[in-house]
């Protein structure tokens, strides 16, 4: 099995080996072994649920650092709309752009503008793609990976659209290259990410043959430096700025609000809620729904695991930022977006690579072995207590049984099985101890 890159990493010295993370993982990718959490790379979708769950902060998002800007002559920051939800009301978007320039960027291009472009392209895509239904937004990379790992039958339902981040990167690059005459490979483009999944998507892209983004910085990593440069009165404009609707993508239901009322759509946020909706879609229900907006984080990207602010506070702030960008700016942003689509061609903003199922849930490589193991697994499950206590290091009794049949755990890792076996041994010992020897006189027990 190929090993995939993941931005979510375990900090071993901080991990206490508790079982909180294994319980919340949506793909059952974590086990506790020898007192430390171990993440199964084949199953991990970088949703960051474990980052959020771990009270010891033993799960970290490994992203690029500002040091990496030194590799390029000219650096462009692509702030996710959610970044603006992390800053208090005292500083407006232009001050945040100023602060980004203070920490080392030469220019800023708002991803919210990419969202305006993708909104328009998605609207057309839904119209010209009558089947299958429902289509599923591919804006959240954790959801795309979830589909690849757990719902491969839904892969044909994923909307074949580029993410707003890539759209913004492509145009910012082209604009800077043309206007300043800088060679493309000397331009560094860095996404300011609210989550782990998008960091992973930058470093190992989902479906575009060439990555227009050179790296990703986590909001939490640069937050302190940004704050230090806010409130000093400086302000600057980005190369492109999106409309309020574009900024709204960072909040649950935001993509749908941008798409408008003509689409029969459903919005779901929070990875476990997303699983519930995908189960429905995978059973052939929801065929009357045209489009599903699915975001791994509760409240949307403003609730991303690389953010610092409370998700619900951030959501209100995001809505305020959206509202603050007036309706005139909306018309402007939309007409600029339409011009850009015309200039680059609509196809440029589609997804170009095929999304493939990802292996990771199979019990064995060949069907015959998998069938044999499944039979064995069922027998083991029937004997387990079904308490899903997690003491064995697997999230549920069933996953423990899977680990046993795959040779990664032993039945007595279950404390209840161990206790049963000790009881049997103790009974055997007692029986042996009471056995009469031929040379001894018969003992009268009664």
């Amino acid at each position: 099995m190929e090993s995939r890159f993941h931005s979510v990493k375990l900090l071993e010295d901080k991990c206490k080996g508790c079982t909180n993370c294994i319980k919340r993982c949506p793909t059952e990718a974590i086990r506790v072994r020898e007192g430390k959490a171990v993440i199964n790379a084949a199953r991990c979708i970088d949703c960051g649920e474990c980052v959020r769950t771990c009270e010891n902060h033993a799960k970290a998002i490994i992203a690029n650092s500002l040091e990496d800007l030194k590799e390029f002559d000219y650096n462009i920051a692509l702030p996710a709309p959610a970044l603006y939800s992390q800053i208090g009301k005292a500083s407006g978007p232009d001050e945040v752009v100023w602060a980004l320039k203070c920490i080392g960027f030469d220019a800023v291009c708002d991803v919210s503008f990419g969202a305006d472009i993708i909104t328009e392209c998605t609207r057309r895509y839904i119209r010209r793609t009558p089947q299958p239904r429902p289509l599923i937004s591919s804006a959240c990379p954790a959801v795309v990976r979830l589909v690849q790992v757990r719902f491969p039958g839904l892969i044909p339902h994923l909307a074949r659209m580029e993410s707003p981040m890539y759209a913004a990167a492509r145009i910012a690059r082209a604009r800077v290259g043309a206007e300043l005459g800088i060679a493309d490979d000397r331009i560094g483009v860095f996404f300011i990410s609210p989550c782990a999944a998008k960091v992973t998507a930058v470093i190992s892209p989902l479906g575009s043959e060439k990555s227009y983004v050179n790296g990703a910085l986590a909001v939490s990593d640069i937050y302190g430096q940004l704050m230090a440069n806010l409130g000093c009165g400086g302000s600057a404009r980005p190369i492109f700025r999106g409309s309020g609707l574009g900024f709204g993508w960072a909040v649950d239901d935001g993509e749908l609000r941008a798409l408008g009322d003509n689409v029969k759509a459903l919005a779901v946020d929070g990875i476990h809620n997303v699983i519930g909706v995908l189960e429905e879609a995978d059973s052939g229900r929801l065929q009357r729904v045209d489009y599903i907006e699915a975001l791994a984080c509760q409240t949307g990207c403003v609730g991303g695991p690389a953010n610092v602010e409370n998700p619900f506070v951030a959501r209100v702030r995001m809505q305020n930022v959206s509202a603050g960008i007036n309706s005139e700016a909306l018309r402007d942003a939309r007409s600029v977006a339409l011009d850009i689509i015309e200039e680059f061609g609509e196809d440029a903003f589609g997804m170009h690579e095929l999304i493939q199922p990802l292996a990771g849930m199979e019990l064995a490589e060949c069907l015959e072995s998998a069938i044999a193991r499944m039979g064995e697994l069922e027998k083991i499950v029937a004997e387990l207590p079904g308490l899903d206590c997690g003491a064995c290091g697997s999230p549920t009794c069933r996953t423990h049984a899977e680990d046993v049949v795959c040779g990664q755990a032993s039945e007595t890792d279950c404390v209840f099985k161990l206790r049963e076996r000790m009881q049997r041994m103790a009974e055997d010992l007692l029986r042996l101890a009471r056995m009469d020897l031929p040379s001894m006189a018969r003992r009268d027990d009664k």
């Binding site: 039958g153 292996a359 199979e362 019990l363 490589e365 998998a370 069938i371 499944m374």
Partner: protein, 149 residues
Amino acid sequence: MTCTDEPVLEMEFAVARHDFAAAGEAASRVKQVLRQLGIASHLARRAAVAAYEAEMNLVIHSHGGKIVLRVDSERITLAARDSGPGIPDTELAMREGYSTASDEVREMGFGAGMGLPNIRRCSDCFEIDSTVGRGTTVTAVVNIARPGS
């Protein structure tokens, strides 16, 4: 790892009459099992949709029953067995849009008369056998295309 001869998996999932809270769980388990067996996603999808429709039929129309999943190296077989009431006219029941579901059930979004036709559409081989007063068995088979054959 070497493959053993012709292993067969058989699993049963009980489905209770009118238990709408648990409806869909059997189909969901079927899907999980097929995924763990490494069945190609387009085949697993068809089997899962058939299982879901069959499960909903048991919940809505039957006195209760079970879904039996059988997998060998060549095919996935789903059998939905119930203990009544039985279908008086199976040909009519197979007609798209025909349903005997109550208004109550229709309000929940079911009873469009597409259940059995959907199961047939998803399967390579389909059988329905029903006796009024005894029960119904719906069998759906999805063939597993072997690589290189």
